[in-house]
């Protein structure tokens, strides 16, 4: 009995510790994904409004470049090339 009891000692704490590390990564990733989902739409809207009111040179057509947008990096784990810095 005693041995069994000693074997269970702090098991939940240890498991919680390891699990929490993984959970924290998951939560971090989830937060970053949610952040990316919203920020991507918002920054595109911002870029849209910004470029529509910024004329380059004397040609108003410069405000209407159809390829004005870049995808916001998701950066859920690190700043990779999966979603970032490529034009759509």
């Amino acid at each position: 009995m005693m041995i069994l009891h000693e074997n269970n000692k702090a098991q939940s704490t240890i498991e919680f510790t390891f699990a929490m590390i993984a959970v924290m990564f998951l939560i971090y990733g989830m937060v970053m994904v949610f952040r990316w989902a919203g920020m991507d739409l918002a920054q595109r809207r911002f870029a849209q409004d910004n470029t529509l009111t910024t004329m380059t040179g004397t040609d108003p057509g410069s405000e209407l470049n159809p390829d004005f947008d870049r995808v916001l990096p998701m950066a859920a784990v690190y700043h990779g090339k999966v979603t970032g810095n490529t034009t759509q």
Binding site: Q11, A19, V33, G61, L64, N65, P66, F68
Partner: protein
């Protein structure tokens, strides 16, 4: 002891429970994250495309304006892209989702610039469709210059009224409508000025040289009658001008003196025969206007004479009246029926059923005839004034000129000696795409069809190849390798039904050429790769050699847009597994 073993077993069973739960819930969470990423990526693409297509439309309008063209004053752009959808299966992204956005914009300083009669080619309206990068500029109208309208020859069947109509029945209805709306007349003295238009610069010899012309026939008739004196060999204008400028009065006097009443002698038959053989005729142009109630009344266009006076239309414009006179415009009991015959099929029983019988007064009347707003009215197409055309003030009227129940915008009109009009007009039904299509149109509904197809072609069997062979078996303790690659082409086919073959895509052998006069710029050339007539198994868009090409079938005006989307992707992961635990 037994109890102790049981608890030990319980403890052993609980070992790693948190890790197991974490794995289960973590997997669910990661799945949800994947779904969110996929959905967010789709939303991002949609948003980007909506912004992009609006910019493309405005930019097209602006560039058109800079080029002094009004083709894209109000630009319309349809953007279609088949994008890979983010996916988390072992083969990577496979699914393609169509993203379709439509944008329109006006960014021009030529908004009020009218289409001029002498510069239509570069100014006919265009709409743009981009399908996976291929740009198709479609005209939505055509410009017809100097078309001489003539009474059509129709078969005797019809009209057909029970829908759905076949194309042949629909065209027959149009033909009958057009034929019925020509007004042939025996000329009378009041119209003599119009029937015999003699330019003051015309000499006697020039008139007589045109033996079959009205002027020459009547001139000779009057010479024979002694009204005019033929100056033999005269090449001067003086005598002719003097004679013809005073001819109406002379003719009236002579005619009345000779024929005080109808059917007075052989001369009358002779002159009537001449006049009937060269009888005056004109086309009725139709338009719809609010004219049904006193509250919504339009002033008739400049038309001081019947039939458009008071919008009193005769019911039957081809059958002569009891005196044998054509075009007897009068307010008989049918006079208003034409106005309510919305399909102009001359089915006045149907008109009576729909709108009730004719009424003599709309005061205190509940008749639907007095209250329906839109009605047809007709105008004789004789002069610019008669149809309300005033180019100097940019007044270009719209009429149905040939029984299609669709208006065209008229820019010029002239009339030959017997009343036949020649007109120049912008035809909204004559472009690649008829934006005015409705159930009265005889052609199939134009535009992008619903059915799209996708075919995938692979190269050398590398499609979805996965390499996890024995050479790299993890049991050997060397490396773990996961590699796949794909080398394929997705062929996406879409179909666009065109209204007319305007010759803009298939007016030459080969393709990819430009024709600035037809709206296909050299900077953005014609993307149609092949044109076929569909007449044989090899001469159609589905023959072996044609299946991958963007193809236009002129037999039914169907454009097959084939997008070839190359997909060359893959991954190769290699993990050094030496020294790690091995499966025994």
């Amino acid at each position: 002891m037994f109890k102790t073993d049981h608890k030990k077993a319980q403890a052993t069973a609980r070992a790693g429970q948190a890790a197991t739960e974490l794995a289960v819930f973590g997997a669910i969470l990661i799945f949800l994250l994947g779904a969110i990423v996929r959905s967010a990526a789709s939303n991002g693409l949609t948003q980007n495309q909506n912004f992009k297509v609006m910019r493309m439309a405005m930019l097209a309008s602006w560039n058109s304006s800079k080029a002094a063209s009004i083709s894209r004053n109000s630009a319309s752009v349809l953007l279609i892209e088949d994008r890979l959808s983010p996916d988390f299966n072992k083969y990577g992204d496979i699914d393609r989702n169509p993203y379709i956005s439509n944008g329109s914009g006006t960014f021009t300083y030529e908004l009020m610039y009218p289409l001029d009669n002498d510069e239509p080619s570069a100014n006919i309206p265009l709409m743009d469709i981009y399908i996976n990068g291929q740009h198709f500029p479609f005209t939505t109208a055509s410009f017809v210059q100097n078309r001489t309208l003539t009474p059509p020859t129709c078969a005797s069947d019809g009209p057909y009224e029970t829908p759905p109509l076949t194309r042949a029945q629909c065209l027959q209805n149009q033909c009958l409508r057009n034929q019925r709306e020509w007004v042939p007349q025996t000329i009378n003295e009041n119209q003599f000025d119009t029937v015999v238009p003699v330019p003051l610069t015309t000499t006697q010899s020039q008139i007589l040289a045109q033996e079959s012309s009205n002027a020459a026939i009547i001139f000779n008739e009057l010479v024979n009658e002694g009204i005019l004196t033929l100056v033999a060999g005269s090449t001067t204008q003086a005598g002719v001008n003097a004679a013809f400028t005073t001819l109406p009065a002379i003719f009236k006097t002579w005619f009345k003196g000779q024929f005080p009443g109808p059917d007075q002698g052989a001369e009358l038959n002779g002159i009537q025969s001449i006049l009937k053989n060269n009888r005056y005729q004109y086309k009725l142009f139709y338009d719809m206007a609010v004219n049904g109630t006193s509250a919504f009344h339009v002033v008739p266009r400049n038309c001081a004479t019947l039939p458009c006076q008071n919008h009193a239309l005769s019911t039957d414009i081809v059958t002569a009246n009891s005196q044998g006179v054509f075009g007897a415009w009068n307010n008989d009991t049918y006079s208003a029926d034409m106005m309510f015959d919305l399909l102009r099929n001359k089915d006045y029983d149907a008109v009576n059923q729909q709108f009730g019988p004719p009424v003599t007064s709309c005061l205190n009347s509940s008749s639907l005839r007095c209250n329906i707003a839109w009605q047809w009215y007709a105008t004789p197409a004789t002069t610019a004034t008669s149809i309300g055309l005033d180019a100097s003030n940019n007044q270009y009227p719209t009429y149905d000129v040939d029984g299609r129940l669709k208006d065209v915008t008229i820019y010029a009109i002239r009339q030959n000696g017997n009343g036949t009009p020649t007109i120049s007009y912008e035809d909204s039904q004559g472009g690649d795409i008829d934006g005015t299509w409705d159930s009265n149109s005889c052609e199939p509904k134009p535009g992008l069809l619903n059915d799209a197809q996708i075919f995938t072609f692979t190269k050398d069997g590398t499609y979805l190849q996965i390499k996890e062979g024995q050479l790299y078996n993890p049991e050997t303790g060397q490396v773990v390798r996961s590699a796949n690659k794909r080398d394929s082409v997705d062929l996406v086919q879409r179909m666009i039904q065109l209204s007319n073959n305007t010759g803009r895509f298939c007016n030459r052998s080969g393709s990819g050429l430009c024709d600035g006069s037809k709206g296909v710029s050299c900077a953005d050339p014609n993307p149609v790769e092949l044109c076929v007539s569909g007449s044989s198994s090899k001469d159609n868009c589905f023959a072996d050699n044609n299946i991958a090409m963007t193809c236009y079938d002129t037999s039914d005006n169907m454009l097959f847009v084939r997008s070839r989307l190359e997909d060359r992707r893959g991954h190769s992961w290699m993990t050094d597994a030496s020294g790690q635990l091995q499966v025994q």
